[in-house]
């Protein structure tokens, strides 16, 4: 299994990461090895086997529909690089 530089660029774009040309080659190489490793799973016959949706065999973990106090606005915004009038302020988002 090989991973192309184009594929690395696509994945990087989706993950909002930037790589130099050298790093892209390095990533392509490492990702190929990871995929190859995981592909071992394909050697096992999984016909008639239920998919594992959760690694622990439990289900129906629920909470009751009850509220508790919100974090304060101050706490919510505490880690924000920039805020304004109680809002997070982010670079302008166009197109929505």
């Amino acid at each position: 299994m090989s991973i192309s530089v184009e594929q690395v660029e696509q994945i990087a774009r989706l993950a909002k990461l930037e790589f130099s040309d050298d790093e892209k080659l390095e990533m392509a190489d490492q990702l190929a090895k990871i995929v190859e490793y995981v592909e071992k799973l394909n050697e096992i016959n999984t016909d008639n086997i239920q998919p594992t949706y959760h690694v622990v065999d439990i289900n129906n973990v629920f909470r009751e529909d009850k509220t508790a106090d919100s974090l304060s606005q101050e706490e919510v915004l505490k880690n924000a690089p920039k805020s304004k009038l109680g809002y997070f302020s982010v670079p302008k988002v166009i197109d929505k």
Binding site: R63, S70, G86, F88, D95
Partner: protein, 481 residues
């Protein structure tokens, strides 16, 4: 060439729970920005989302009300994308194994009943709100309020079974009616608790293969959906007729300008890389649980409409109007209960009450006259305590002032005079004052009696019981013969 239109809808409905879908902060609408937030919906590292059970109950209600199969096992998935209104970098949704599948609704069309398939209903969390256009937002920024993050949603995905904007409108309004009846969502498109996206394509009539579809977003009202669809269909048909290619793209509806504007498509290459969310455990729904929800379902609109026809003897049209929205149907039934007269209750609610609501652009929840008070007013008319004309004046004042009709009647001394001796006096006086009319009547011009009744009504400031006045007048006139 004749074209056929193919429409499918994706409808998001906010569930009216107390708390968020996976955490404890309040899911109520509004409030100061970032004031209904907890570590989970803020996407802080190390937090664990836990599913709100009521959300599952509500989704099951909707599934059962739309003839879906409830999945014995459903799971949550991460839908990965970056947008500032979603702090985690992914939305928790359902992809494989949604909670409900394979349902349908029957809508009314010009050509009779038509079945619209429902592909699936799945659970997901809402995103926060971006503020772009308020005056306090600088030109180079967007402001983010995460209060709405984690508000529970169901997404209802229809089959591409609709063939006109009118069918889409009928389907959408029926969905609203059902969520309101189920009391799981207020169904308000203007405030965004119900949202609708549409997939639209056209194909030459007779072709089975689907054409290239576009997605329409940002339609903020029920009529807006109909309008936007009409716009997009005519755009596609014009394209096709001019031999241009229809591009697969997403368009945003601009309700002020009545146009759909394409979104920049480069930013929008869908690659959500769904995978099962390891934080959340599968949901297993037993038959017992389904039974329990089934038994708790309220009477649905169609059933209520039929009952109104049968037990209140209303014409089907009246029953349809009265059951269109649950709050109005509830109001009507309370009026029936206090007035004891379904026909009159229907006349008053469909006539006077709905006229006031329309004039005031208001809905029944904010109507100033309680159903009990309207019921009592109708009762006083049928018992003869006030006449119908006065009752309308009383209602108008009640609507204006918020006072109870009873108080207005007492305050203004509007109780109808049916007392024969009191009215006889007035009648005699009117006859004495109008000898010419009396002569005409005795000469055979019977219709003059209308004028004479009017005179008595005037003398009693409208309070006389017109029927009693009429009787007394005739009695007295006979004596004069």
């Amino acid at each position: 060439m004749e074209y056929e239109v193919v429409i499918g809808l994706e409808i998001h409905s906010q569930l009216q729970t107390q708390s968020k879908i996976f955490s404890y902060s309040s899911a109520a609408f509004g409030g100061d920005p970032n004031s209904k937030v907890d570590p989970v919906c803020l996407g802080l590292p190390g937090v664990l989302p836990v599913l709100n059970k009521q959300v599952v109950n509500y989704a099951m209600r909707m599934g059962l009300a739309t003839n879906c199969k409830i999945a014995p096992l459903s799971i949550f998935a991460r839908k990965n994308y970056f947008y500032p209104d979603s702090p985690k970098g992914y939305q928790i949704s359902q992809f494989e194994e949604p909670i409900c599948e394979h349902g349908y609704l029957d809508i009314e069309t010009e050509n009779g009943k038509k079945r619209i398939g429902i592909t699936r209903i799945h659970l997901e969390e809402d995103a926060g709100k971006s503020v772009h256009s308020e005056t306090f937002v600088a030109a180079n920024e967007t402001l983010i309020d995460v209060n709405r993050c984690g508000t529970p949603l169901i997404e209802i995905v229809s089959e591409p079974d609709m063939r006109s904007p009118q069918e889409a409108y009928a389907f959408l309004t029926q969905i609203r009616q059902i969520v309101q009846y189920l009391e799981i969502c207020d169904g308000n498109m203007e405030e965004g608790s119900l949202r609708c996206d549409a997939n639209i394509s056209i194909r030459p009539k007779g072709q089975t293969e689907l054409g290239v579809k576009t997605e329409l977003k940002n339609m903020n009202s029920f009529r807006g959906v109909e309008k936007a669809l009409e716009y997009e269909i005519s755009r596609q048909i014009t394209c096709a007729k001019n031999g241009e290619q229809i591009l697969q793209q997403t368009l945003l509806w601009d309700a002020d300008k009545n146009v759909a504007i394409p979104m920049r498509s480069k930013e929008f290459s869908h690659d959500y890389r769904y995978f099962p969310d390891p934080d959340l455990t599968p949901v297993m729904i037993s038959d017992d649980w389904i039974k329990k929800i089934e038994n708790s379902l309220p009477e649905l609109p169609k059933a209520r409409q039929n009952r109104f026809v049968e037990s209140y003897k209303l014409p089907p049209y009246d029953a349809e109007v009265l059951t269109d929205q649950k709050p109005l149907a509830d109001y009507f039934e309370k009026v029936v209960k206090t007035s004891g007269d379904a026909k009159q209750a229907s006349n008053w609610v469909m006539g006077e009450v709905m006229r006031y609501l329309k004039e005031g652009d208001s809905d029944i929840n904010n109507f100033k006259v309680s159903p009990e008070n309207l019921g009592l007013l109708i009762k006083s008319v049928s018992e003869g305590a006030v006449n119908a004309k006065t009752a309308k004046v009383v209602l108008s004042e009640a609507v204006e002032t918020g006072k109870s009709p009873e108080a207005i009647i007492t305050e203004k001394n509007l109780v109808q005079i049916s007392d024969t001796s009191e009215l006889s006096e007035q009648v005699k006086k009117v006859l004495a004052d109008n000898p010419n009319e009396v002569e005409k009547f005795l000469g055979g011009k019977e219709q003059v009696i209308g004028f004479l009744v009017g005179q008595v009504m005037r003398a009693t400031r409208g309070q006389a019981n017109p029927k009693v006045v009429n009787d007394i007048l005739r009695e007295e006139l006979v004596k004069l013969k």
